[in-house]
């Protein structure tokens, strides 16, 4: 099976984020990491390849720094990478991002495209589904298991509150992968070495611009959330804080 994995670079989980001057995006001078659900999507693609053969290709959009995500994926075992490189890709809405990805793979024939179920930055949970619409392929979201069957795949999709559903669908298809579908691997030293010689194709914004339209939605501004509750912050040494908390548990929460 030939599988494309869409991956995104996002700010590290505990990175302190600051707003830019216009309050429309974050300041970019932070540490980045791979979007966690995308790491599970890559792991699943590598496992499918190990079982059934084929090829795993990884793709990302974003400035030069985003290449790190592709290098890590290659080190873990992906065969080659595609980088839609440029700052122009950062401000695209989900529909345009999906259009850009579709345009950059028009000469490829994938059996499956995986994305993480959502990104830790925007959190729209749309790019994979929109990619399926653009390509005219079937899709399924929040996938927890993939088995190859005759002419297609048998899937386990997560529903809410502990429920699941089995689905079957023909290939090619787009699947959005849930975190926890598998156990992630680490890159090996040999893998890291080999990654340096694996092919990485760069695509510029100018090359795929014809496929894009105007953004259909716009982030007007970002701001620190307004507090929903008044939080009383407790300070002091561990012992002092423990005493204060027990006092709250007794007299205000009333569970002691």
């Amino acid at each position: 099976m030939k599988i494309l994995v869409c991956m995104k670079q996002v700010p590290q989980k505990d990175a302190p984020l600051k707003l830019n001057e216009s309050g429309t995006w974050i300041r970019e001078d932070v540490s980045y990491e791979v979007n966690e659900p995308d790491a599970y999507a890559l792991e699943e693609a590598l496992r499918q390849k190990e079982k059934h053969g084929g090829e795993v290709v990884v793709i990302t959009t974003g400035p030069a720094r985003a290449q790190q995500v592709l290098r890590e994926a290659l080190a873990k075992g992906a065969d080659r990478a595609i980088h839609l490189e440029g700052n122009e890709f950062v401000g695209l809405d989900s529909f345009n991002t999906a259009k850009a990805i579709a345009a950059s793979i028009k000469d490829e024939q994938f059996d499956l495209i995986f994305t993480g179920l959502q990104s830790d930055d925007y959190g729209y949970a749309q790019t994979g589904v929109l990619l399926a619409e653009i390509l005219g392929w079937p899709h399924a979201t929040i996938i927890m298991s993939i088995e190859k069957s005759d002419g297609g795949v048998r899937l386990k999709r997560e529903l809410e509150a502990g429920f699941f559903q089995h689905l079957e669908m023909p290939l090619p298809a787009v699947l959005t992968i849930q975190s926890g579908i598998n156990k992630l691997r680490y890159a090996t030293l040999i893998g890291i070495k080999q990654a340096k010689n694996k092919p990485l194709r760069k695509v510029t914004h100018a090359e795929i611009q014809h496929a894009l339209g105007p953004n259909l939605q716009k982030i007007e501004k970002l701001y620190i959330p307004q507090k929903q509750k008044k939080t009383e912050m407790l300070e002091g040494s561990a012992a002092e804080v423990a005493k204060k908390l027990v006092d709250k548990l007794k007299n205000e929460v009333r569970v002691l």
Binding site: Q165, G180, Q217, V255, L256
Partner: protein, 329 residues
């Protein structure tokens, strides 16, 4: 057609998903501010029962969109039927609850009509003639105002818990119902839905617990879970976790709180090393008291906590366990 807000009510296997009522509450508020009409649509095989239930709510009209192809949910049949319907009705705004089912088809539905979806909104604001939707970004660290830059119909979904379903305004009399024979193109459906099931018996019913001590990524290692367990034992509460902890197998899946796990509202929810990602918050924000201990002062969990401690949980938790034990003797 007059300017209209259309709510697509969610039913699964013939049952109303009550999150739909929250979206109706939001839609009634938007309708009141904009003077737009409010209508609802229910799609499915046979939706009489749900239509009767929704007809009690104050809406102008209900559309029952029926087809055997919609009996069991597939994204393709839903997109096909709703695309036809919405394309012909041209509402200003289409609202849905941000459920797993909606996130499966709604982006595709909007795109099929050449439009866009603002997903997972938590509120809205009228800015002149423009509607702006607020949503969380960067795992709740920021709120964003997002607007549409295309023609209507505009699509938006509301996060569960953003509005109160029990505040929905009922109508003076039942709303009129119009049946629509859906044009769902069955031949286009390639996905075959099979059985819906629960994986394992739910061993623990956390919804009944009065005290929950919950751990997140900040616990760092599996062996550190014992610290939290000791505190839970001292308090006489249950141990629970955010999703990453259960994904790692450090606690069983039935201990997971959040959109994919259990939704709880105990007397006390003690969040240890939980940053407060949206998916977790929706499962516990109804708790009567929330105490958060986290090393990151910016963690979104502090937005909803009653009491907060910024510090090292590995020092504070053992000290707290000790104090609780003392207080109990």
């Amino acid at each position: 057609m007059a300017d209209t807000i259309l709510i697509v009510v969610e039913q699964r296997e013939g049952k109303l998903n009550r999150v739909s009522l929250e979206t109706l509450t939001a839609a009634q508020a938007i309708a009141a501010e904009t003077n737009w009409d409010l209508e609802a649509a229910v799609a499915g095989g046979s939706v009489d029962a749900i239509v009767q239930e929704i007809a009690k709510v104050k809406v102008k009209k209900i559309y029952a969109i029926e087809s055997p192809k919609l009996e069991r949910y597939t994204a393709e049949a839903y997109v096909s039927a709703l695309k036809q319907f919405i394309g012909s009705k041209q509402p200003k705004l289409v609202l849905m609850p941000h459920t797993y089912q909606v996130r499966d088809f709604a982006p595709r539905l909007a795109a099929a009509l050449g439009r866009t979806l603002i997903s997972d909104a938590i509120g809205y604001r009228k800015d002149g003639t423009k509607l702006v939707f607020t949503r969380q970004m960067f795992q709740g660290k920021f709120t964003a105002d997002v607007s549409f830059s295309c023609d209507p119909p505009h699509f938006a979904t509301f996060q569960a818990g953003s509005y109160r379903g029990d505040r929905v305004e009922m109508g003076a009399s039942a709303a009129p119902v119009e049946k629509i024979a859906a044009q769902a193109d069955g031949s286009a459906v390639r996905v075959k839905p099979l059985e819906i099931f629960k994986e394992a018996k739910q061993a623990v019913d956390l919804t009944q617990a009065e005290i929950i001590v919950s751990v997140g990524r900040g616990i760092k290692e599996q062996k550190n879970i014992e610290l939290a367990k000791a505190l839970a034992d001292a308090l006489g509460g249950e141990i629970a976790a955010s999703r990453p902890i259960c994904d790692s197998g450090w606690l069983p899946m039935d201990r997971q709180i959040g959109s994919s796990g259990q939704t709880v509202a105990p007397k006390l929810y003690l969040a240890l090393g939980i940053s407060g990602a949206i998916q977790h918050i929706v499962g516990m924000k109804g708790s009567r008291s929330i105490i958060a201990i986290n090393k990151d002062a910016e963690a979104p969990i502090f937005e909803i906590a009653d009491f907060g401690v910024v510090g090292n949980l590995f020092d504070i938790v053992p000290a707290l366990t000790e104090e609780v034990r003392k207080a109990k003797t």
